[in-house]
Structure formats: structure tokens, C-alpha cells
């Protein structure tokens, strides 16, 4: 033996360390010789020149050693690459001690590919299972990515973009920006490379006489520049188009609009189209996929802020809040510095201007990411989708456990091979690495399948209609970020779930395994297998319970009495502003339309409202119980929901008037301002007395209560009777209105009749979108519907995987116990006894799984209680029902192998076994 290291002189020890620079193979072959040569050289140098000589030797040795090592490694790498390209056909049975990490890996990989190819059924099944689990996670992640993670399409350097909002100091309430406020911050901010403003605008664009209702944005001149979007064709707004009001009627259209309506023709630039009844010049086309700031909304046209008075007439919006603001940070400036500057600017603004007093409390600034959704909506969306991601994660875990037990079984089958390789000199670590490479390869391939699955699934999800806003549309398909996520998740899972079988497969006891399996290790294995199955069963039960709860909530929600009658009502949305109508013309039109629609057979009542109940479009306002008073004079305010309606509304939606009267035609702009309040409002403000004849302050007016309407649901199904106020549309006009029509016949069949009536009144108008109130209100149950669908699919997948796992385990155990069963049969056991014995084994596992699953589910369902309405997260019916379903499936999964076991012929089994 050579001298132990700790007794070597320092310089030789240092040399030994340096030798590590060389590839392992080189070191193994020449390391000892090199050290001896060096020792000889040191002795020689010391003999000739003393310590100085040794130092000089070092000066020569170190650079040459480093260089040689570098060259050696580079050559090694070249060889590996070359070898990997042309794998030799010989089988590396016992892995030789390899030379470097790369070489080992390349070798392992080649070997893994060969091993997986040799058992194609195992490989295909394992990859399919992993694809399923990975596909579930990837699909949900695609959705999250598309809505909130992906940088906005068309933006450059999105990390520097930020959205900001004026809020109260405690951030509890916010207000959007007025034009003057926007100019103030945009002109004075030094920490930003531009602040832009925008608002939504309902537009109707006529091209060649054909009108199209589109969702548009009205934007500041620097809007595109701040986002970093470049025109695909033409140009964006010029500086002068951002300065002079009404001087530049120009419009930028989306790529999609350009393709569908302008023939994808570059000659469309410079063409005149009609926007809200006025001629506008098309100046540019955005890049494909650009969707403005809130990416779930599909924007089709952008018009300059300066054209606001024309496009949204009758409203002076210079000092009213109506704009969303966002900015781009100057390089090197932190978001917090920008926020501080904006706060300072806002405080100055509030101090200097004659802004209405009620806005002076909004001196806080909340700065958030500009990633496709307003901050509150993003939080809600993330909260919801994270739950779904968790559910998908459970499926991935179940799938991975299946694969882990498959790998385990395979590892057992390969024990003799492993033992042989160990005997031939392969180290334990080396074998583990080999097996791990195999499982990582499986999971990696599975992730590709998962991405493909997610591709199909997101395509299907995109086609699920979203009730409500028709401009909502999502592009969910996986992008590179999603693919990287899928691969990383798969590799991580592969590592976690592949390591145990690998370690297990290699084991320690070589000689025992060269002989054959020992009883002890077999028991250990089945214990591990049982634990995996129980975990799988438990997790799949959690999913089933979640799916059951969501379904119950969906039914429960559908049964909640909304307080009005959503069936039998057709509805159509109109924005008279977008047609270039002034308010007189609009009123004439709406009146004539309701007259015409009223004559359609089956129609019993028509009316208009600014918003529909339970469509997530409720608006809040304040009333002052003690009369109008003055702004911020300290008179108490009550926050209420408000809706502006026409006479006939209560009849159409089926809300009874409990006291007083509903609105009538005489409640118009010239007469006394009146309101109808709901029960809760009346009881809260005038407990014990009649509300009729009382007065309230509303928007500076003194309004008289003329009626009390029964409580109903307004915003959500879970709200507890909020105070609500109805005002007449004739006294508080709105540019956008919804026609509502009650019919004794099928409301969906009214669509063409309503569109005909509109065309009759003004053929230039874009045809309205006609839906039913039932359809519109279905949005309140949309999260439950999506969740029930997603968890239902995931739960079913989880259950099937777990059942297959259970079946596999029982079948395996039956196979192993063939002799025992044969002996029992030979000794007189009946078929039923054998079946019972095997099924009992399965049921013991299933029972444990149910108990564990119920406990887990009880802990987990609290997370979804917010989506469940009145259904308890511990709903007994769901838990019992799902456990029952679960037991039934488990019974089936263990009965099939049991039946086979019962047909065991003792003679054959004992002879052959």
C-alpha cells in the first residue's frame, strides 16, 4: 500500500489535489505514477538547488499540469460526443468504471434507452401514465401562464412596466384617473420613461356599410410606445394626435380585425372607416396577438384620447375619473422609487387643484405588475387556479406512484441482473445512477406526452363558452415557459419517485439475491407497495370528494332562489353612444325598439336596465339618508347597490313591489327624482315605519322613495341581502343599456326577431348580441362549473389510476401466492374462500385508503369552502357517496384478480410453481 495521505509531505499532498483536475480515468491510470514522478522530481530538485529548486519545479509543474488536464478533459468530451452519436451494438452488461461524469451519463442514457426499448409494454404504459399526470398539471399551468404569468403579447422589456392606481391611504378603495390628473403625473414624473392612460370604449366600426360592434380602447398617444408595441403595418399615433381635441380622427386596428374585416390588405392603411358614425382613417395595425393591457379581453381598435368627446359624447371627462394608468420605469429606477414619486405628485395635485373634495382622500398609490389582469382580479384568479393546480398535482402524484410501483416491480425482476453487475464490479451508487437515469428518461418522455395532452386540453378549454362579456377570450395553448415547467416538474417527480425504487432495486445483499429473493425483502417490498397504494387511494378519494362538493355546490347554487325569475327572459345589449347617437335620438330609438319588440308574439313585457342582476356587473354607489347635503360635509353615507331601470322592469324580471309603486312613464327627467328601494334598505333606514315618501340624498339630488321591492340577489349568490336602490333610466341616463323581454315562449327564439326590429329601425346599426337572462346569470356559477368539470375529470383519472394500481398489486400478490393458494385448494378450500381471501386483502387496503382519504379530504376541503355556497366542506352525503363509489371500484379492482386466483388448478400450480 502507498503511504497514507496524512503522512505525505505538504507539496505532495498539494500535487495530489491538483491531480483531481484530470478526468477520473486518466487519474486512475497514471495518477500514482505521476505522483511518484513528482516525488522523484522534488527530491532531485531539492538535492540540486534546495528549497529554491523545489519552488522552481512548482512554477513549472502547475501551469503544465493545468494545461494538460484541460486538454485531456476536452479530448474526453469529444470522444464521448463521438461515441454517443454512434452507439455500439455490444451490450454493456456490467458497467465498467467510467471515466467522467459526462461519459457515465452518456453511457447510462444509451443503456436506459436500450433497456426501455426491450420492454415496450412497460415503457408505453409508464409513459402514458406520466403523460396523464403531467398533462393535468401542465394544462392548468397553461391557463395560469396565459392569464397572469405570460408577459403581455407585444410588450418589450415587460419587467419595467407597472400598473398604478390611486387609492385611499389604507388601499381599501380606489379611484381611476381623470384626464387632468393623468396629464399632471405624466408631465411631471421623472422616474418613468412614460406614463400612458387608457379606458375601454364600445365602438361600432362600419367598413363598406357593414357595421361591427367591437371592444375598443381609447388611449393616450404614447400608449403603444410605453408598452413597447410596434405596428405590424402602418404607424401608431403621432405626438400631435395626442394634443388637439377632435382634430385627428384616426384609428389603429388589431391584426385580427385587419384580417377579418379589412382583407389583410396593406392598402387598408389610409382607408376611411366609420367609427361610431364618424369617418376615421385607419393608420396602423398591431402585431398579431397584441391585446392591450388586460389580455383576457380581445381589443379590436384603438382611438386617441383626444377623440373622446366625439366617441363618447355628452360627457365631459376631463376631471372625472375614468382612466387606467400604467407606466414604464426608467432603467435603474426601482418600482418603489416610482411609487414614492407618484405619491408626492398626487399629494401635490390634491393640494393644488380644485378636484372635487371626495377625491382628496385618494392619495395612496398602489403599484402592481402589468400582467394581463387588474390586481384584484389577478388575486382572485390565482386563488382559484392554484386550487385547480393543487388538484392536478394530486393526479400527478397518483400517476407517479403508479409508475414508482411499476419501477419497483421491475427493479425486483432485475435484481439478478443488478446483483450480477455488482459482482462484476459496478458500485452501488453507479447502479442507482443507472436506474435513476432510466426513470428520469421515462418521466422526461412523459413530460413531452403531457405537453401534447395539455395542447389538446387547452384547445378544448378555449372552446368552453364564457358567459357574459363576448370580448373575453383566452389563448391558453402552452408556450416555451409552460414546456419548461412541464419538463422541470416531470424531472423533479421522476427524481422523487424514481429514487426509492432505484435504491430499493439495488439493495445491499448481493449473495442472497444472486441465489434468489429472500422472504424478508419480499415482505419489505409488499409493505412499501401497500403504502404506495394506500396513498394513491387516499389522494384519489380527496379528488373525488372535491369534485363531488363542487357538483353539489353547482346544484345548490342553481337551486338558490335569486329572488327573481331568470327563465323566460331574452336580453340584448346596446351602446347608443357607439352609434354616434345623441341622447334624444337614443331615447327615441330605445322607445321605438321596445314598442316593436312588444308586438312580437309571446312577449308579455319589455323594459331596459343598465345592468342585469347576477352578471358580475353590479355597481356600488352612496346615498345619504339625511338628504343631499354637500360633498364631504360629514353627513352619513350608506353604500348601496344601484341599478337604473325603465318602467316594466319589475314585471319582466319578476320582482314583486311590496309597498308603493314601481316606476311609470311620468317619472322622467322633468319630474321629481324618485327611487325604489329594496326591503333590506327600507328596514335598515326606517325600521318600523313606512319607507314611502321618505327622502334620500343621491348624487346631490333630493330623491323621494316611491316603492319598496322585494329583496333579491344582485351581485353574487352568497351575498346576504345588501341594501339596493333602483333609479329610473329616464332620470339617470346611461349610454349602454340592456333590453329585457319577458316571453311566454322560448326566449332564445327571440334573437332573430329582435335583430330584425333593430335593422328595421336603423339598418346601419351592428346587429346586437341577443342572449337569455338564464345564460347571462350562469356566470355566477362559472367558477363552480369549471371547478366541478376539472376536478371531475381529474378525480376520474385519479380513481382509474388508483384502481389500476390496486389491481396490479393484488394481481402481483396473487401471482406470488399461487403455491399457497394451490395448497389451500388442495386442502379443500372452496372457490368462494379463495375469492374472499384475495378480495379481503384488497379491501383492507381500500379501507385504509378510505380512512386516510377522508381525513385528508376533511383537512383539504376547507380550502375550497369559499366556492361552495351553503354546502358544507364536510358535507356528509358527498363524503359517504364518494367513499361508497370508491369502495365499489376497489372491490372490482380486487375481484378480478381474485377470480383468477380461484380458478387456480392445484395440480398444475404445485407441479410448475
Amino acid at each position: 500500500m502507498s503511504t497514507p495521505n496524512n503522512r505525505l509531505p505538504t507539496s505532495e499532498r498539494a500535487f495530489a489535489v491538483l491531480l483531481r483536475l484530470f478526468p477520473a480515468g486518466f487519474r486512475r491510470r497514471f495518477g500514482q505514477d505521476m505522483r511518484e514522478l513528482f516525488r522523484d522530481q522534488v527530491q532531485g530538485a531539492r538535492a540540486r538547488e534546495g528549497t529554491r529548486g523545489v519552488l522552481r519545479l512548482w512554477m513549472r509543474v502547475v501551469p503544465s499540469l493545468v494545461r494538460a488536464a484541460a486538454v485531456e478533459r476536452a479530448e474526453n468530451l469529444r470522444t464521448i460526443v463521438r461515441e454517443f452519436r454512434s452507439p455500439p451494438l455490444t451490450m454493456h452488461f456490467a458497467t465498467t468504471r467510467s471515466d467522467s461524469v459526462f461519459e457515465t451519463f452518456a453511457h447510462d442514457l444509451r443503456f436506459a434507452i436500450r433497456m426501455l426499448r426491450r420492454s415496450p409494454v412497460f415503457t408505453v404504459v409508464a409513459i402514458a401514465i406520466i403523460s396523464l399526470g403531467c398533462g393535468a398539471v401542465t394544462t392548468i399551468f397553461s391557463g395560469i401562464n396565459a392569464v397572469v404569468l405570460r408577459p403581455l403579447p407585444g410588450t418589450s422589456d415587460p419587467a419595467r412596466l407597472f400598473l398604478f392606481e390611486r387609492r385611499t391611504r389604507d388601499f381599501s378603495e380606489g379611484v381611476s384617473g381623470s384626464y387632468l390628473y393623468y396629464r399632471h403625473v405624466a408631465d411631471h414624473a421623472r422616474t418613468t420613461g412614460g406614463i400612458a392612460a387608457w379606458s375601454k370604449a364600445a365602438l361600432s366600426i362600419s367598413v363598406g356599410g357593414e357595421g361591427h360592434a367591437v371592444y375598443g380602447n381609447i388611449v393616450s398617444g404614447n400608449y403603444f410606445a410605453v408598452l413597447g408595441e410596434r405596428p405590424a403595418v402602418g404607424r401608431f399615433f403621432a405626438p400631435d394626435e395626442d394634443r388637439t381635441p377632435l382634430a385627428n380622427p384616426v384609428v389603429v386596428v388589431s391584426h385580427d380585425f385587419w384580417e377579418r374585416r379589412l382583407g389583410a390588405d396593406t392598402a387598408a392603411i389610409g382607408r376611411t372607416v366609420n367609427v361610431n358614425g364618424h369617418p376615421y382613417t385607419v393608420i396602423g395595425v398591431t402585431t398579431e396577438g397584441f391585446r392591450g393591457v388586460f389580455s383576457p379581453l380581445k381589443v379590436d381598435a384603438w382611438v386617441p384620447l383626444m377623440m373622446q368627446a366625439q366617441l363618447r359624447p355628452g360627457r365631459d371627462l376631463t376631471d372625472q375619473p375614468w382612466l387606467w394608468l400604467f407606466g414604464r420605469l426608467t432603467p435603474g429606477v426601482t418600482r418603489d422609487a416610482a411609487r414614492r414619486e407618484l405619491v408626492a405628485l398626487t399629494e401635490r395635485w390634491v393640494g393644488e387643484t380644485k378636484e372635487p373634495a371626495s377625491y382628496q382622500q385618494y392619495v395612496g398609490i398602489r403599484v402592481t405588475d402589468l400582467t394581463g389582469l387588474p390586481d384584484d382580479a389577478r388575486r382572485a384568479f390565482l386563488g382559484f387556479t392554484m386550487l385547480l393546480l393543487g388538484a392536478a398535482g394530486l393526479v400527478l402524484a397518483i400517476a407517479s406512484m403508479n409508475v414508482a410501483s411499476m419501477l419497483s416491480a421491475r427493479a425486483v425482476a432485475r435484481r439478478r441482473e443488478m446483483a450480477l453487475r455488482t459482482a462484476l464490479g459496478a458500485g452501488r451508487g453507479r447502479l442507482v445512477r443507472q436506474l435513476l437515469t432510466e426513470s428520469l428518461l421515462l418521466f422526461l418522455t412523459g413530460s413531452l406526452g403531457g405537453i401534447a395532452l395539455a395542447w389538446f386540453a387547452t384547445g378544448a378549454l378555449e372552446r368552453v363558452p364564457i358567459p357574459g362579456d363576448s370580448s373575453l377570450s383566452l389563448e391558453l395553448s402552452p408556450d416555451p415557459r409552460v414546456c419548461i415547467f412541464a419538463v422541470m416538474v416531470s424531472l423533479a417527480t421522476g427524481l422523487v419517485f424514481g429514487l426509492a425504487p432505484a435504491l430499493h432495486g439495488v439493495g445491499r445483499d448481493i449473495t442472497a439475491r444472486l441465489r434468489n429473493d429472500t422472504a424478508a425483502s419480499s415482505v419489505r417490498r409488499s409493505m412499501a407497495g401497500n403504502a404506495i397504494i394506500v396513498a394513491q387511494l387516499a389522494l384519489s378519494l380527496v379528488l373525488l370528494v372535491a369534485a363531488g362538493l363542487f357538483t353539489r355546490a353547482l346544484n345548490d347554487g342553481a337551486r338558490v332562489d335569486p329572488g327573481f325569475e331568470p327563465n323566460g327572459v331574452a336580453t340584448a345589449y346596446f351602446n347608443a353612444e357607439s352609434w354616434g347617437y345623441d341622447s334624444t335620438r337614443a331615447q327615441r330609438f330605445f322607445h321605438a325598439l321596445s314598442q316593436r319588440v312588444g308586438t312580437i308574439p309571446g312577449v308579455t313585457a319589455t323594459s331596459y336596465a343598465d345592468i342585469l342582476p347576477l352578471t358580475m356587473s353590479n355597481s356600488d354607489d352612496f346615498v345619504r339618508p339625511d338628504g343631499p347635503g354637500r360633498e364631504n360635509d360629514g353627513t352619513p353615507r350608506v353604500r348601496v347597490g344601484v341599478s337604473a331601470i325603465d318602467p316594466g322592469y319589475f314585471e319582466v324580471v319578476g320582482i314583486p313591489i311590496l309597498l308603493g309603486r314601481a316606476f311609470v312613464e311620468q317619472d322622467d327627467a322633468r319630474s321629481q327624482k324618485v327611487v325604489v328601494v329594496n326591503e333590506t334598505m327600507a328596514n335598515r333606514l326606517w325600521p318600523g315605519g313606512s319607507a314611502i315618501g321618505r327622502t334620500l340624498g343621491f348624487h346631490g339630488d333630493r330623491v323621494v322613495v316611491v316603492g319598496v321591492a322585494r329583496d333579491s340577489k344582485y351581485g353574487t349568490l352568497t351575498e346576504r341581502n345588501p341594501p339596493f336602490v333602483y333609479v329610473p333610466l329616464a332620470q339617470y341616463s346611461r349610454p349602454d343599456q340592456r333590453l329585457i323581454v319577458r316571453t311566454a315562449l322560448d326566449p332564445a327564439a327571440l334573437a332573430s326577431a329582435i335583430r330584425d326590429a333593430v335593422r328595421f329601425l336603423d339598418p346601419a346599426l351592428p346587429p346586437p348580441l341577443v342572449t337569455t337572462l338564464r345564460q347571462e346569470t350562469s356566470i355566477v356559477l362559472f367558477p363552480q362549473r369549471v371547478a366541478a368539470m376539472v376536478t371531475g375529470v381529474l378525480g376520474a383519472a385519479g380513481l382509474v389510476l388508483a384502481a389500476v394500481g390496486l389491481y396490479g398489486l393484488i394481481a402481483f400478490s396473487v401471482g406470488r401466492r399461487t403455491r399457497e393458494i394451490a395448497v389451500r385448494v388442495a386442502l379443500g378450500a372452496q372457490r368462494g374462500d379463495v375469492v374472499g381471501m384475495v378480495v379481503r386483502e384488497g379491501m383492507r387496503l381500500a379501507g385504509t385508503g378510505v380512512v386516510a382519504g377522508v381525513l385528508l379530504a376533511a383537512a383539504a376541503t376547507r380550502l375550497i369552502s369559499g366556492f361552495l355556497f351553503n354546502v358544507s366542506p364536510l358535507d356528509g352525503l358527498t363524503f359517504a357517496g364518494m367513499s361508497g363509489l370508491f369502495i365499489a371500484v376497489a372491490l372490482l379492482a380486487s375481484y378480478l384478480p381474485a377470480r383468477r386466483a380461484a380458478t387456480t388448478d392445484p395440480l398444475t400450480a404445485l407441479r410448475d410453481g
Binding site: 500535487f15 491510470r29 505521476m34 511518484e36 514522478l37 522530481q41 509543474v61 488536464a69
Partner: protein
């Protein structure tokens, strides 16, 4: 079919020195370093790194081989490895020396050298 000796030519200076040294007798690493230093008057100084890279290559090409011989017991570390030149190595060395000889003795080269030599 083994590579023809000519295909190894021209030899790198280090390879030539090493083969020359081993052609004389079998040597271990330090022996080679010392011999080559002597032969070249200290011009070629081998370090552990480059020496063994050259040996690795010459081994792979089959120009040198390890010997079975170990050092005299008790006198030297018995694990020290000795190298010898192989028959192929000998033929390559001979071919290279012949090539150099032809080069050196060609009249034009002689004339050149005489013109520049001081």
C-alpha cells in the same frame, strides 16, 4: 491491419525524444524525464502532466507498452511502472530518424544551414 509506420510521421519532438529514450532501454517516468533532459541538454523539460499525456497517446497508438518488469524488490517501489518501445514504435522511430537524416543531409538544406550558421 496495423497502421503503416509512415502514417505516424512526422513525430512530435516530445514523442521522438521519448521513443529515442525508450529505444535505449526500458524506463519508468522519472527515468524518462532525467534521460530526456540529459539528451536535450535541459532543453526539453517534462512535467508529470505532459509526460503522461504523451505516454497515454503513444500507448493508445501502440508505439510503446508497459513492461511486466518491476523494479528490483526492496530497492524501488514495486508499483512503479516501466515502459518499453514496441516493434511498431521501433519502426516508426527508424522511419522518423531516416526522414530527419534525409532532411539534414540534403544538399540544399546543408547550404542553407551553412549560410545562416554563425
Amino acid at each position: 491491419m496495423p497502421r503503416p509506420p509512415r502514417s505516424f510521421l512526422p513525430l512530435k519532438p516530445l514523442d521522438l525524444q521519448l521513443l529515442l529514450s525508450l529505444a535505449e532501454q526500458e524506463r519508468h517516468g522519472y527515468g524518462l524525464v532525467q534521460d530526456i533532459a540529459e539528451r536535450t541538454d535541459g532543453l526539453v523539460a517534462l512535467e508529470p502532466g505532459n509526460l503522461y499525456r504523451v505516454i497515454k497517446r503513444l500507448l493508445a497508438d501502440g508505439l510503446v507498452a508497459e513492461t511486466d518488469r518491476r523494479a528490483v524488490p526492496g530497492l524501488d517501489d514495486e508499483r512503479r511502472r516501466y515502459y518499453r518501445i514496441t516493434p511498431l514504435g521501433g519502426r516508426v522511430l527508424a522511419a522518423e530518424v531516416a526522414r530527419l537524416q534525409a532532411l539534414v543531409s540534403s544538399p540544399s538544406v546543408k547550404a542553407l544551414v551553412e549560410r545562416w550558421a554563425t
